[in-house]
């Protein structure tokens, strides 16, 4: 079939799944409300059940059950994808992920593994309220045997774009379970191509097979601070980076991992060894979050080279339904700019 023209993160993910089902006869998708014509709450599976009716299964509202079933399928040679409709509902699958999928390889002494991909949209800013807006992936970071990925809206080569390519690779070539963290506001983002990035410098490295990006502004002085963010927050950090340069003459380098766990941060350390300042930015709550681990590792690795470090995250409360209240809780571009200005004034 002809390659669809990819425009957005949503298109890219949809095409990644379609290509996985096309190329890999072991690929199979389970999830709630994923059949056409609805095609899933966020439409990531749109069209797939029509094209692959035997391998796109709609399920009861049983997140734990379908994750366990995916584990059983994987142990018997399949490459299952589970859609968890809202990231908030991943709390329902923790036993399946921690005590089952992530355990099989090691506890059965390497005789088998469960290459399941669990995809789910995290994040707020849609007014969905306290149980449909959270960013909970920090609960899944640091679980031995589990890989956590978060795509970035980028398309540097022709093809399905990075989000879809990462998803395709995770489905067809993983050795173990993967939590694939999407963000609701990422879906409509246009994939950035080289023509969108003419003003930027883009570095791409790879850690454990997942891309790790570094972004800066072309023709500006050496960056003075490293920003670290992933997923949709990395998009907001890009906007902040631009404004900080042109309004405040503070020059940043933005580091964007796409593999969150296991932590592989060497490109980040290289950046911080040049800038000496680090700010992590995440949409989840602050305490024991992604940034806490990044800072701990940066501190251990860089020692006195790291002169200042800070974290920006959501306030430690529920995500309110009211857009006005929600905006007060979640970090946005203005918050990033404010935080960076504070950090760069004090040293």
């Amino acid at each position: 079939m002809p390659e669809e023209r990819v425009k957005t993160v949503l298109d890219s993910l949809n095409q990644g799944l379609r290509k996985a089902l096309t190329d890999d006869p072991q690929a199979i998708i389970l999830g709630e409300d994923i059949l056409d014509p609805y095609g899933g709450s966020f439409k990531v599976t749109q069209g797939l059940s029509t094209q692959f009716p035997d391998r796109v299964l709609t399920t009861p509202i049983s997140e734990a059950g379908i994750t366990g079933i995916a584990g059983g399928l994987a142990l018997r040679g399949f490459h299952p994808v589970v859609e968890i409709m809202f990231g908030d509902f991943t709390t329902l699958i923790v036993d399946q992920v921690v005590n089952h999928l992530a355990k099989f390889h090691d506890m059965y002494h390497g005789q088998t593994s469960a290459p399941v991909v669990i995809r789910t949209p995290m994040g707020g800013r849609r007014g969905y309220g306290p149980t449909h807006s959270q960013t909970l992936e920090k609960l899944f970071l640091g679980i031995p045997g589990l890989r956590v990925l978060a795509p970035f809206h980028l398309q540097v080569e022709t093809g399905m774009g990075i989000p879809g390519k990462m998803l395709y690779d995770a489905v067809t070539a993983s050795q173990g379970p993967t939590l694939f963290v999407e963000n609701k506001l990422q879906y409509p983002l246009k994939l950035l191509t080289s023509s969108d990035l003419l003003e930027y410098t883009l570095g791409v490295s790879s850690t454990a097979g997942a891309p790790f990006y570094s972004l800066g502004l072309r023709g500006t002085p050496e960056p003075q601070i490293t920003l670290a963010a992933y997923g949709y927050m990395a998009k907001l950090a890009m906007d902040a980076l631009y404004q900080l340069a042109y309004q405040y003459e503070i020059f940043c380098e933005l580091l964007v991992p796409t593999q969150l766990s296991p932590f592989e941060l060497s490109p980040l350390f290289q950046s911080v060894s040049r800038t000496a300042h680090l700010l992590t930015i995440e949409e989840g709550t602050l305490t024991l979050g992604w940034g806490a681990e990044v800072l701990a590792r940066a501190s251990e690795t860089l020692g006195p080279e790291l002169q200042s470090a800070s974290r920006l995250a959501a306030k430690e409360t529920v995500v309110p339904a009211s857009p006005r209240l929600e905006a007060e809780v979640l970090p946005d571009v203005a918050d990033i700019i404010q935080k960076v200005r504070e950090m760069m004034v004090s040293p």
Binding site: I28, D54, T59, P60, S62, A64, G65, I66, T67, G68, I69, A70, G71, G72, L73, A74, L75, R76, G77, F78, P80, D95, Q96, N99, H100, K103, F104, D106, M107, Y108, H109, G110, Q111, T112
Partner: protein, 296 residues
């Protein structure tokens, strides 16, 4: 070897294994915990005798009997329990986490039913002959994921036999303090054909299991088998809170070895007993002599 002898032999292997395990546990050779199959040998043997080569077996924390009846090697199991690299899972899994060929056991209640359902879905999608046999206990019925899995097992007509070994006690909690309503109704309400038998007699369990596994194989859909049975040993090692008289009564009335043994000529049985006990002791000693492990 005739059928009666073979059934006896298989059950006796399990009995000898777990008895020696308990005997040696206090010497410190084994670490952690263990759950023996004492009293439930007829279930493992009567059911798993019917396994085809590619059938999948899913078991739980009380898995030694299932593993041995599946054809697992007693030496490798002893080595596993001793934490040796030559063990079934290299000493990583221990008593509750065994995987060998198509046998999988895990120690968390409930989740394995969903896992087993996924395996059955996989076999059904492949269009292959194998079926899945999943052992759970009465205690497992407290877990919510069981009902999610049963629903999908019935909804998708998955080729699985769920065996509920109802030993009427979950660790120390008797069923009447944990289970409301009927046990068979739990399966029947999802439309899963359910058969119940109150027996510790392998000659009653074995043909029934054969018929049900045949039905799963023929109809490519689920069946449930509830076996009212008796746990003759502790939950793990020395944690039995039941009155001694009650346990002694169970030994008198519900011991599958004592029920089936007299069907063999006494002389033949004594020879078999001696051979099996010798072999299990040899397996133990061979495992003990293996290099590596915690004290190496």
């Amino acid at each position: 070897m005739d059928k009666n002898t073979r059934l006896y032999q298989q059950m006796k292997i399990i009995r000898a294994f777990d008895s020696l395990l308990l005997e040696k546990f206090s010497t410190g050779i084994f670490s952690g915990t263990t759950h023996t199959s004492l009293g439930q040998e007829a279930n493992a043997v009567g059911i798993l005798l019917h396994c085809h080569q590619n059938d999948v077996v899913v078991s739980n924390h009380r898995c030694h009997g299932h593993f041995l009846a599946y054809g697992g090697d007693p030496t490798a199991l002893f080595a596993e329990l001793m934490g040796k690299p030559q063990g079934v899972c290299g000493g990583v899994g221990g008593s509750q986490h065994l995987h060998w060929r198509n046998f999988y056991a895990s120690g968390v209640q409930g989740g394995t039913v969903a896992m087993a359902a996924g395996m059955a879905l996989g076999e059904k999608k492949k269009g292959d002959d194998p079926i899945v046999v999943d052992f759970i206990g009465d205690g497992t019925l407290g877990e919510g994921i069981v009902y999610e899995a049963l629903n999908m097992i019935a909804l998708w007509e998955l080729p699985i036999l769920i065996v509920l070994e109802n030993n009427h006690i979950a660790q120390t909690t008797p069923s009447e303090l944990a289970i409301a309503g009927g046990i068979t109704k739990r399966f029947e309400s999802f439309g899963i054909p359910t058969t119940r038998i109150d027996s510790s007699d392998v000659l009653e369990i074995q043909p029934l299991a054969g018929a049900l596994m045949g039905a799963v194989r023929m109809e490519r859909g689920p069946q449930a088998l509830v076996i009212d049975t008796a746990r003759l040993g502790s939950h793990s090692k020395g944690d039995d809170t039941r009155p001694t008289e009650r346990v002694e009564k169970l030994w008198r009335e519900r011991d599958p070895i004592a029920i089936h043994g007299p069907r063999l000529p006494e002389k033949e049985r004594k020879i078999l007993d001696a051979e099996i006990e010798r072999d299990i002791r040899t397996a133990f000693n061979n495992a003990l002599a293996m290099e590596g492990g915690p004290d190496a």
